[in-house]
């Protein structure tokens, strides 16, 4: 029940934010904040429940919450929501980053604040749906629904090239999404042919036995949709444009949670639904992941636009998720999840800083910055922390994710692990050069004084610092939540791993 309430609160809060604009331009911000506070309480209540076990495949799986209600019985489509460890963590991340997004746009958005916060909250509602839907039709439904408000956020409040960027973002996700829809429908028809039952339920479809060649094609539909979203090389080209042009809040959401829906989809759906076919594509997926790590890092190094740099660093970091998912062992899978969580915090914070810089300096060009630490010591120090985190220094969250992924990958494919490690070194280079160009060195002549971060921003960023440090120093509680879920998924998808050592 709390889950449905959570989505309802986000949607209604969005509507309320839109309506209150008529009274006062500033009111929607407060309404959105209030909505997120309620949502946070509901999320906290979700954590309190206890797990129930149900049979899944040959084993069992633990669910904190399962809601099922008929929707379109003609095709066996239902409102099937489930909440397990992964979902719970991703939903919590969504709500936290929602707060960050509202705070980061507090001073930035002047135009149509009501509609802005409406879109923001509806994006969050859509993402919560994606992370909890277990009916494949419902999942696709939310997958597409979260696009529209995000598109509007970029198209209305974006920067100079918003037309191009928002269109590219929508087209990439939409076309790959359609491929996934075709796969979903085909999977359901195959299942119907065998069992005579119409169902889109994850629990039923997991049991479908597919002929290998069909399975491979169907898996490709899911794989492409998720890898585009992740984004994996070479489908990443929408990301730098969308991130650069989006308003800060949209960048935060995009990097923090929307990218994670891709990784989540791979783990939740692609692996368990198509274990053999996923194994077949694993070498290719890992090669793409490794290529993404290096390519993203090299391109990030070459950027002069601060937001673009962070965007390319995301491509690099998401490469770790891809190799982690397809390394085919629990260690790497845990690493991929940790990487997604930590990257959500660190990149959201970096985008918040980038947005704040643009708001103050009216440029994203790092060549026009420099020496900003003197004017903005608080922002400088915070940026230092998150840049250090993002380059993977031990003791902070990102290190845990990257280390687990590398440890898992090393077992199966040393070449990939070595390439990924080289990517880490390059990561240090671009991260530090960004720090140097923006906050250190000489201040350009005749630069006007700029205001430092206020209490609100510092407060939110401080919480994220605490979170990253917490994950970095003591990740065990999170791993404990993830472990049973990943074990069950791993067990579902575990067949003889025959491809190891046969990398193309």
């Amino acid at each position: 029940m709390e889950l449905i309430l959570l989505m309802a609160v986000l949607m209604l809060g969005g509507g309320a934010a839109w309506l209150t604009e008529a009274w006062d331009e500033a009111l929607p911000r407060r309404v959105a904040m209030g909505t997120l506070a309620v949502a946070a309480v509901l999320t906290y209540m979700l954590w309190q429940g206890s797990d129930q076990s149900i049979a899944l495949g040959t084993g069992t799986s633990d669910w904190r919450l399962l809601i099922s209600h008929e929707w379109i019985p003609r095709f066996g489509i239902s409102f099937l929501f489930g909440l397990d460890g992964i979902s719970l963590i991703m939903v919590s991340l969504t709500i936290i980053l929602g707060v960050v997004a509202v705070v980061s746009s507090w001073h930035e958005i002047e135009k149509a604040t009501g509609f802005f916060h409406f879109n923001l909250l509806w994006t969050l509602a859509g993402v919560v749906g994606v992370f909890t839907a277990l009916d494949l039709f419902l999942f696709f439904f939310f997958w597409e629904v979260m696009l529209i408000p995000m598109y509007l956020l970029i198209a209305i409040w974006g920067h100079e090239a918003r037309s191009y960027a928002s269109m590219k973002f929508f087209l990439f996700t939409q076309i790959s999404g359609l491929l996934m829809l075709v796969s979903i429908v085909a999977l359901v028809f195959v299942n119907h042919e065998v069992t005579g039952v119409w169902t889109f339920s994850y629990f039923d479809l997991v049991e479908t036995v597919l002929p290998p060649d069909i399975a491979y094609w169907l898996m490709l539909g899911f794989f492409i949709a998720f890898v585009v979203k992740l984004p994996g090389f070479p489908f990443h080209t929408w990301l730098p444009d969308a991130h650069t042009q989006a308003p800060t809040a949209a960048s935060v959401l995009l990097a923090g949670i929307l990218l994670k829906t891709g990784g989540y989809g791979l783990i939740r759906f692609t692996l368990p639904l198509f274990p053999e076919a996923s194994q077949q594509i694993a070498p290719l997926a890992m090669a793409l992941g490794a290529a993404g790590i290096l390519y993203g890092a090299v391109l990030a190094f070459a950027q002069v636009d601060f937001k673009r740099l962070v965007a390319y660093s995301s491509v690099s970091h998401m490469g770790f998720v891809l190799i982690g998912v397809y390394a085919w062992n629990e260690l790497a899978l845990q690493g991929a999840m940790m990487q997604m969580i930590a990257h959500g915090f660190s990149t959201a914070a970096l985008f918040m800083i980038a947005g704040a810089l643009q708001h103050r300096l009216h440029t994203r060009d790092m060549m026009a910055m420099g020496g900003l630490w003197r004017d903005m010591p608080r922002m400088g120090a915070i940026a230092m922390f998150f840049i250090i985190a993002s380059l993977g220094v031990p003791g902070l969250g990102n290190f845990v994710g990257e280390f687990l992924v590398l440890a898992g990958v090393f077992r199966v494919e040393i070449t990939i692990a070595v390439i990924a490690t080289i990517g880490l070194v390059a990561g240090a280079a671009y991260a530090l050069i960004a720090m140097q160009r923006v906050f250190q060195g000489p201040r350009p002549d005749n630069a006007a004084a700029v205001a430092d971060f206020g209490v609100l921003e510092v407060g939110v960023l401080f919480l994220m610092m605490v979170a990253l440090t917490g994950i970095g120093i003591y990740p065990q509680p999170l791993l404990d939540v993830l472990e049973p879920v990943l074990a069950s998924i791993y067990q579902l998808s575990n067949t003889d791993v025959a491809w190891i050592g046969r990398l193309p």
């Binding site: 019985p73 529209i148 198209a155 269109m167 087209l171 359609l178």
Partner: protein
Amino acid sequence: MTAAQMFALLPIITLTVGILVLLMVIAFSRSLAATAIVSMLSLALTAAAFVVIAPAAMTDGGVVVTPLLVVDGFAVLLGLLLTLASIAVAGLSWDYLSTRGDLQEEFLLLLLLAALGAIILASSAHVASFMLGLEMLGVSLYGMIAYPMKGVLSLEAALKYLILSGVSSAFILFGAALMYADSGSMDFRSISALTSADSLSLMASGGSALFLAGIAFKLSLVPFHMWTPDVYEGAPAPVTGFLATVSKTAVFAVLVRAFLPEEGTAGGATFWGLWCIAIGSMLVGNLLALMQKNVKRLLGYSSIAQLGYLLVAFLAGSAVGGSELAVEASLYFLFAYVPTTLAAFGVVAIMSRDAGEQDTDQIEAYRGLFWRRPFLAFVLTAAMLSLAGIPLTGGFLGKFYVVASGVQAELWWLVGALVVGSGMGVFYYLRIIFAMTQDADGARAVPVPFASGMLVGLLTIALVVLGVYPMPMIDLIAQVIASVTWV
């Protein structure tokens, strides 16, 4: 003629009486409001008549009224859709005409006649009644296209439609004659049996090709689509809406009745002909829409593509066990497509109320609509998203249905073309939404008249309900399919 048969004709009789009453009203007092209200009322009564005869029509496979007409569940369901769509067009025309000078009343008369033609098409079972309905619809449309506006564009559109429509009717007639020469029958059952056969005689294949070419012209399918953008652009917005929805739905009903492939006949000449037409429509329609700067032309090209999607569902009927899903998918798609398209043209009509000789149809003119008229912008956005097949709208479920039937029939090339076409579609639908969200200086906010505003609002509600709560509609369609004998 028995009483049961007369009863089955109740909607047609109601509408005919309505037309006569309307004639009298116009003769005694020239008032646009009175004319519009009477025509909407008689259409509403017709809709009620459809509801009344529904139980009779849905038992024993329907009522056969002479060899010409069959009033079955299919005819009633589509007749209801056509009538409701005509009510919407009548309401939109009322506001649209009220700013365009005197002597506009006869326009509504033509509208009712066209609606009657469309209803006859939906229940026709024979080439004779088909031609009757088609010409009634077509001849009224020539008048409607040129009526309200005295500009060159609308005249060109009417003339173009007149000539090409006449030629395509000739094609249909000649095709029917050839098929008659081969089979000795002109009712749709025998045509269906004839074209589903494995090997067709030269006469039959030539006849069915000509017949289908004529129908493809009316549905503006590639390569018979050339007239579409010009006529869409030149016709007044409500008429364009009528042309895009009522006229196409009615002709599609005939296509389903006469050419629904028998199961297991995929691979015949008719199948491959329609296969090529479907792929061409999806790709060419979307491709040509990409760079349009005119909303009406854009919607014209998009309608070519939409009908291409519909054809995918139709062709899925040739798979073994596929015809039920094919008809179900086609019907759902139509029920989503009609309110969506009408909502879009409704917004164009409202925007063009005081535009003079040419409608407000440049995308540029819609810039900033989100901030000037949020309501209109919301309606148009919902319509665009529905056409693009994004969830929360009926268009999404329509597209889902099409994909489902295509996948079931394993028509992978058609499904692939649908994915590619939809991808292109998103591009131009989003361009309109994007333009509406951007700032515009000095643009004037048009007033939203009551009737039109309400109608587009209702249409929007309908398309959202079809997207989130589809079960009642699906059940209704399932009942109808269960009641007809030929699926």
